[in-house]
Symmetry: C2
Subunit: 236 residues, 2 copies
């Protein structure tokens, strides 16, 4: 399944015992259709408040999936902030999480106050030097070390490679696009936080580079709001 | 003042005794700053659920407006779904409503289901013939007769001229841009409703033309949802 969701009213992708999650809503919808217990595996566990244009998830069922218009059936049951864009039958050993070769996230900044689309960006009220954002992104290319840009509990499993990273500007919006083999918890939001610190003159490019190459226990950040974060697509 | 707002949680622009309105929020914010009763006049009375990128409004005060950073002061008081983008002192006889030469609205359609940005468009689930939308818009150019495209109570004061009207397509979004001397209540939403009826083959282009030229009491429509409607700018 390729899934789009507005994360504003969700406690993230991953199933929680009480709070409303995207995984939970999709499992409920599938159970309504198939009348059996279904577990869904997503390619990326997006944070509370973060969005997805192209999350990918799979589920297993012993029943024949034929004869059902899956997108129509699911979208008629799902709440309005989740839309299943595509459904296809795959090899039984396909795993949406472990078969993924890379994920692409986008982070959206709006320069100045904003009322429309405010849940889909982070409004920034400082002057930002765009060329410094570009210089930061250039340093991320090929980056494999993220101990300054992950939560404490993930310190041991931080193998990740950034394949592509870049900023673009459209009107008052700034977009950071990043493709990596995988993403650690908080990684995009902390990287954006540090890059914005550089672009507003609070951190030097050299200090940013040091956070990447030899952080010596220092942390990047701050962790910028999840409203600007979009899981755009997953590549297999 | 040039004002942007997300109309989703508003009962429209115009002040209501009980319900939450944009005019009401702005008057409250101005009264907090100026400590006097303020009445605000807007260029266009947008519907409940409709949005604005560039609503224009004016107010009178006997106090000196100098020494106040107006946008900062107002935005710090206003709720997050209203943003004042610009404030300037004008001639004392300026009237945001009556001095307006034209207004430009945009109506946004999304082809197929959508979770993100769903409050900022109208999702349409039928196939639409884009060239028929374009043919409809061409018929609107210079149009001055809207008795099929307004509410009953406005039948007598329907002088309005469409200066420009056109559709554009970007991915799965369709945008209808229209500039007119003024807009009658429901006019854009009923015009879009009729054009979509043409584009899905439920109304012929000739029937649409007849609604414009000689409606004989027939009404256009249906009235499409306000979520797709944006007051983009007002020209003076």
């Amino acid at each position: 399944m390729i899934i789009e969701y507005d994360g504003t009213a969700f406690a993230g992708w991953q199933l929680q015992p009480v709070e409303r999650t995207v995984q939970g809503e999709i499992e409920k919808a599938l159970q309504t259709i198939l009348q059996e217990e279904i577990r869904v595996t997503g390619a990326g566990r997006t944070d509370a408040g973060a969005h997805a244009r192209g999350q990918v998830a799979h589920f297993d069922t012993a029943q024949s999936p034929n004869g059902i218009n899956w997108t129509k059936a699911l979208n008629s049951i799902l709440p309005e902030d989740v839309v299943v864009r595509e459904v296809a039958e795959v090899e039984s050993n396909f795993n949406a999480r472990f078969a993924a070769k890379s994920r692409t996230y986008q982070y959206r900044i709006h320069l100045g106050p904003i009322a429309l689309w405010r849940n889909y960006c982070w409004p920034v009220f400082h002057d930002l030097d765009f060329s410094l954002l570009e210089s930061c992104a250039a340093l991320l290319q090929g980056q494999q070390e993220f101990s300054a840009f992950c939560s404490e509990e993930e310190r041991d499993k931080r193998e990740a490679i950034i394949f592509e990273a870049g900023w673009k500007k459209e009107g008052n919006f700034l977009y950071f696009d990043v493709t990596a083999s995988r993403f650690l918890r908080g990684m995009v939001r902390m990287l954006v936080g540090s890059m914005v610190e550089v672009a507003r003159g609070f951190l030097s490019l050299e200090e940013f580079q040091k956070l990447l190459q030899n952080p010596e226990g220092k942390k990047g950040g701050p962790l910028v709001p999840p409203s600007g974060l979009f899981l755009m697509r997953v590549e297999y």
